[in-house]
Symmetry: C2
Subunit: 349 residues, 2 copies
């Protein structure tokens, strides 16, 4: 290209003559009689001295264009950082319903469909689960992949892929027998089964609890609730008085304020044949095994409310940690009729 | 030992005759005319059939002793799990001002001083920073090591060592020159320096910001505040109006509610010659380098308020993550006159 193409900043877009189409392949969109560039495309082309942009008859250099664009478009600087990064690494990028539609490596507009819908967000912005799920549904309905591009305060970008997921295993038929005469005792925030045979059954058949020694099994609050609800244990307090499921549930909620949310997810996972243990060491509610035979838990699952608002710092920490132990990070939320799961993982774009 | 030693549960302790001293080495404390065992010691000895414990003339088997002890001592079950774990792995354990005093491997009461003060806590209990620091001071004053034994809902124990720490580097003499005529512009939540020479000075001499390209440097909010306060940049808004340190500070606090706490820690670390960058990718406020030459940041630092109450799940997650990237996790808090730092790390006892 010998001379720069002349363009004009008008109503938040950069407008070029139609004749530029042959020179600027894969930039802009053809309109009737002109070509329209997004602000990010224009900034990128100014920086590379491919176009000159005029505003009210004066040329804007890169610095002034960026300042102008920042006044027009919220978070322009962030979006530009992401646009530039993707372009420089060979991706074709078009504006989209999320911030950008991105074509697969080697693909381009007109020859291949877009693969990713990229949403640009600052590490400082809170991200509501409701909004995220709404966007995810739109993206998954057109069978694209949803990407969050999170820009930190050093303008470093981390890409996360968001996917809805399900947990479903063919349940092994061998079940637990109903509780017999043996009882389990509630000791403050945990439950102990004292009978050797029952302890071993719950542990080896049901994958519940942890053996404290040869005889005793310790159950967590969610495990105890689940077993109580299914009549697999009889629970008593320190004075040997029976405790009902309802009373126990209320008690557990006093100890753990988010017990109800946690329990619903536990129940759903268990009912779908998954084995579920505490994820405390990984800072999440659960680690989840595919059935009883799996020895490495492949998922960390954290129960959140459907009104949850993610801090991206907290989200980043959870995902980074889960990857460091080769697990997928899944967030579980309760919609009125069922539990939804979204898997958020770091991707290299 | 051929026959069990007879003892009695009385006022929350287990009492033995003095003659048991020769048989029960390293258990209990000698009092006038008798030996006193803690509840944990007694449970451990009952489980091993070394003693029989009577209460109101009736013998208590292990199950009943545990239930009784749970009524007497808050969190008995947790403390017993930790006591047993340590004993079984060859440590000598005595009651202490925290839950247990623990002797170094190979050491024992009477022959060596205790090395660790162990505080037992359930993963569910909130842990106030104030309380933690108070305990830490007591422990460090007698030159012991402070250990948190966190018991999760599966009765798994994780040991953390808590230490107070300082950041202090001999500051390299080469400083930044005061800002000249060149300005930096505030773009929403970040600041851009447009001048090539100044960008490079700030970046290479001061280790500030991130180069967006050959000319432009992007500074974070804390970096900009610090440089503004020290007259190392001149800051303007999109209309080229100058922004004062005070106005900028107020603006940054609107964007980041914990900006003030974060900035105080940043300032302290910088004034002590450390290089400080964002820790976003690791879910913390900062990663900290020893001076400018260090290429691997050895610390993650998170600013918390002096009234902070840790959720142990959150603490566990932060520490686990920092270890996975070979960094130490440090929490920084503001006391009225200076910034305090505590380093919390997982230890294998």
């Amino acid at each position: 290209m010998d001379k720069e193409i002349i363009s004009e900043l008008r109503s938040g877009k950069v407008i070029l003559g139609q004749e530029a189409a042959t020179e600027l392949v894969n930039y802009g969109r053809k309109k009737e009689g002109f070509i329209e560039l997004s602000l990010e495309e224009a900034a990128y082309l100014i920086e590379r001295a491919k176009i000159s942009v005029f505003f009210e008859k004066k040329e804007l250099n890169f610095e002034f264009f960026v300042k102008k664009a920042s006044q027009i478009s919220h978070n322009f600087e962030l979006k530009y950082v992401v646009y530039k990064d993707l372009r420089e690494r060979g991706y074709f990028v078009q504006p989209g319903t999320t911030d950008f539609r991105v074509y697969p490596r080697g693909g381009s507009p007109g020859t291949t469909p877009a693969e990713y819908f990229v949403h640009v967000i600052s590490e400082r912005e809170p991200l509501g689960l409701g909004e995220l799920i709404k966007q995810l549904k739109v993206v998954e309905n057109v069978r694209k992949r949803m990407i969050l591009a999170i820009v930190d305060e050093e303008s470093d970008i981390t890409f996360y892929e968001v996917r809805s997921t399900v947990f479903k295993e063919v349940k092994e038929s061998k079940g637990l027998t109903p509780a017999g005469s043996e009882v389990a005792t509630l000791l403050q925030d945990r439950v102990v089964v004292w009978d050797q045979k029952r302890s071993n059954d719950l542990f080896s058949i049901g994958f519940f609890g942890r053996l404290l020694d040869e005889k005793r099994l310790q159950l967590s609050l969610v495990e105890s609730s689940y077993l109580l609800q299914n009549d697999n244990i009889k629970l008593v307090d320190l004075n040997d008085c029976a405790i009902s499921f309802e009373d126990f549930f209320e008690y557990a909620t006093k100890i753990e304020p988010d017990f109800a949310a946690k329990y619903k997810v536990y129940e759903d996972l268990r009912n779908n044949g998954m084995s579920v243990k505490t994820g405390f060491k990984f800072g999440t509610h659960f680690r989840v095994y595919d059935g009883m035979k799996d020895t490495h838990s492949r998922f960390l699952v954290h129960a959140i409310s459907s009104e949850h608002v993610f801090s991206l710092q907290e989200m980043s920490r959870a995902i980074r940690l889960s990857h460091s132990v080769r697990k997928k990070m899944v967030f579980a939320y309760d919609t009125d009729h069922k539990i939804g799961y979204i898997d958020i993982g770091r991707v290299k774009l």
